[in-house]
């Protein structure tokens, strides 16, 4: 039982990272129906920006996090304008292939820029282990990951549900033409969505850098795919679904590795993807939408 709760704690902190990345996937899909395979690489760029701020500029944690988020928000918008916008009315497969191209471009440009080797993240936050009820351990970094993630999720919920730009995002994702007839600019709304999604990925990147201490230019591939699984698991296009899917996937992975089968960690994630696509392709939170005439 203790082992179980311990793995639950580990799973939740891993899952919160997946959830942050999955949110960007799901928001972008919701609005432009594109699986943005470059999203995992935005996360990687975010990690490097955090590294740059902390290790080279010597900034503290919070300003570094905010800077990485801001720069990646701009990067996401630029990528959308240059790579995806010209293809908005093209067949979806064209945009998908472009997304893979953007992903490779980011990975190998970063290799050129920062060298392919693994870099170790400086210890910007002290790592204290807290003992709970005797043998359970939770580290201060896990706590920080969780606090930052939850704060960002609450902020996102506020933006999406309470602000006009959030309402515009939902309107555009529901019906682009009807949204235009309200006076909403579809282009601006899509840019905003990319900005938010990319900044969440950047936050995940910085948090992972701090948690695992190591970053490299290809670090975005696997978490990117896992976050995609999480987004599909929760129901792609559904924001609470991405959060739940992320946490669930993190917990499952932690359980699999915690019980001594860590080699099966990745296969299990993708088996979940296959099962969900067969059994409930709309995802856990997805439902069939009825239309009224």
């Amino acid at each position: 039982m203790e082992e179980f709760i311990q793995q639950l704690i580990n799973g939740i902190s891993l899952g919160s990272i997946y959830a942050l990345i999955a949110l960007g996937y799901t928001m972008v899909y919701g609005i432009v129906k594109l699986i943005n395979f470059a999203h995992g690489d935005i996360y990687m760029v975010g990690a490097y920006l955090g590294f740059f701020a902390i290790a080279i500029l010597g900034w503290p944690f919070l300003p570094s996090l905010l800077m990485a988020m801001a720069v990646c928000a701009v990067l996401g918008v630029v990528i959308e304008k240059l790579a995806y916008k010209p293809l908005r009315n093209a067949p979806r497969i064209a945009a998908l292939i472009t997304a893979i191209g953007v992903s490779l471009f980011l990975e190998y440009s970063m290799m050129l820029l920062v060298k392919p080797e693994v870099r170790s993240f400086p210890q910007v936050l002290s790592d204290v282990q807290y003992n709970l009820f005797g043998s359970l351990v939770i580290s201060s970094r896990q706590v920080i990951i969780l606090v930052v993630t939850i704060a960002l999720m609450l902020l996102l919920q506020y933006i999406v549900h309470k602000t006009m730009i959030g309402k515009a995002m939902r309107a555009v994702s529901h019906d682009k033409q009807a949204a235009q007839l309200m006076g909403i600019s579809v282009d601006n709304t899509i840019s905003f969505t990319f900005a938010i999604g990319s900044s969440l990925a950047a936050a995940a990147g910085v948090l992972v850098g701090i948690y695992y201490n190591a970053i490299n230019p290809l670090m975005g591939i696997m978490p990117g795919l896992k976050a995609f699984v999480a987004a599909v698991l929760g129901g792609i296009g559904i924001i609470p679904g991405a959060m739940a899917g992320g946490f669930l996937l993190g917990i499952v992975e932690a359980m699999v590795s915690g019980y001594g089968k860590s080699l099966y960690r990745d296969p299990v994630a993708f088996i979940i993807l296959i099962i969900i696509l067969i059994v409930k392709p709309a995802g856990l939170f997805g439902k069939n939408v009825r239309e009224k005439v």
């Binding site: 309402k167 529901h174 033409q177 007839l181 005439v293």
Partner: protein
Amino acid sequence: MLKVEDIHVYYGAIYAIKGISLEVSQGEIVTLIGANGAGKTTILNTICGLIKAKSGQIRFEGKEITGVATQELVKRGLTQVPEGRRIFANMPIYENLELGAFLNKNKKEVAAEIEKVYDRFPRLKERKNQLAGSLSGGEQQMLAMGRALMSKPRLLLLDEPSMGLSPILVKDIFSIIKELNQQGTTILLVEQNAKMALSIAHRGYVVETGRIVLAGDAENLLNSSEVKKAYLGG
């Protein structure tokens, strides 16, 4: 107020609108009638910038608006209640109305406009927190119209407001359209229900396969033998 001159519109390879000209003056209700597939919706969508015309010119209040973005036209006082209502089904009624006033950043004004819509359509007020998708067809039409009114349009394009509604509701909707017009909104109305449309309109155009085949005063059209034969069942 609105002047459309010789527009030609293509859907990919399909030649949908083959040179249409029409005019709407301030204070009028003008209707476009015609069978399904004649191109009525395409004309409205071209006017409000959702589709681009291959050639031709559209002027609104004296200014050229060909190629101007839809959201910019909303700002200038021209909007459309689209065919099939196109309400935001997964949002509550009041959020649909808020979105209708998206360009108005003054919260107080928006709240006052929402109250006006509720006064016009009391059914919406009763259900303001319900999801729009749970409304009946007639209520959805009211919401779609209320939402369009939130941007205070001077010219309102209405596409098939009677679609799928019971005869009583159709009557209600048409009397609201007439009332809106009397309060100063100019209206361009697309309808398959030619009789209803002509009964409230000042003038009408008959559209057939992308061309205007007949135009004139609503009363004359209502009594013309061609219209009677083609659209009013003899």
